[in-house]
């Protein structure tokens, strides 16, 4: 196992993961708002926020897909050592990590079943930056309207059309996360 893979986990897992889980819940409940995520030092190219999300959400029972530019030995080892999550293809994944380009085409990911819409994938999309600008977001958890610099709109509109099925998305950059659940209506501006 690569030596760097053993570093950068939580130092106080119960508290850090509880705080991070709260931030992840808030982000998904209030689409388009930015929430800080800190406490991990994952190997490059992972952002701190993506690393914290993986430490918080993944374990041996949540298969993870690493998108192209993230499918590196050091990342594989880091995920395995700190979470035990099995690394799988896009189709089998409960979680997926990568840039938007890495994760394309997104119709490979699980959208759940009509009886079990919860059996859908959650994408963790690494972004160069995150800001409250760009496409217009409306729907549950948004008082009037929100904006977020999504990588595109068409894929998220197609995903919304599958509701109650569809994948959910976290967008991460540096030490911040924003959530975009399948229920959000996305419009280009």
């Amino acid at each position: 196992m690569t030596p760097e893979a053993l570093l950068g986990g939580f130092t106080d897992a119960p508290r850090q993961s509880a705080r991070a889980f709260r931030a992840a819940l808030e982000a998904m409940s209030r689409p388009g708002t930015l929430w800080p995520l800190e406490g991990a030092a994952p190997p490059a190219p992972l952002s701190v926020a993506a690393g914290v999300l993986i430490l918080t959400l993944c374990d041996g029972t949540t298969p993870l897909h690493l998108g192209g530019s993230y499918d590196l030995q050091v990342v594989r080892d880091w995920v395995t050592f700190h979470t035990g999550a099995p690394l799988v293809s896009a189709e089998e994944a409960h979680f997926a990590l990568g840039t938007w380009a890495d994760l394309m085409p997104v119709d490979r990911f699980a959208i759940g079943l009509p009886d079990y819409p919860d059996r859908a994938a959650t994408l963790i999309v690494e972004m160069p930056s995150l800001s409250a600008q760009g496409p217009r977001l409306t729907g549950p958890g948004i008082a009037v309207v929100a904006h977020l610099n999504l990588p595109e709109t068409a894929a998220f509109r197609a995903n919304r059309a599958l509701f109650p099925q569809g994948f959910d998305t976290y967008l991460t950059s540096g030490a911040h996360v924003a959530g975009l659940p399948r229920s959000t209506i996305v419009e280009a501006v």
């Binding site: 196992m1 030596p3 053993l6 570093l7 986990g9 130092t11 897992a13 050592f81 700190h82």
Partner: protein
Amino acid sequence: MNALSIDTAARKAWMGLLARTAPARLAELMPDLPDHTVLRGPEVGAVMVCGRVGGTGQPFNLGEMTVTRCSVRLTSGAVGHAHVQGRDKAHALRAAVLDALLQTDDAATLEARILTPLRTAETAARSLRATKAAATKVEFFTLVRGEDK
């Protein structure tokens, strides 16, 4: 990352021995720990224990057991890991530090001072149980049956 000279079989053996050892006994033999950085844990969790159908067939889940795991790095750079039965975090930490130390030049000293007494005690306890079991072994005496004349 582990020096290739370290024999996997030997490492497996000492990791198993440290996992089975009573935490108090290990603490007695190794009261002080050298400087180290904790890489993961010590963390209490559960491991699902699997059996096999009929003892030889398909695996099935029998139930879980409590396990505490820990990984450390010494100032020398040696990395040690431990998975030990039960919920004793000090036990897991001590076993991980020892696993790292046993990969260094201190191995021979520690082998004599810690592993040998643990191994001797374990063998003695196992033998005692086996001898008590042997005392309950049935010796059949075939009785004379009607047709045996």
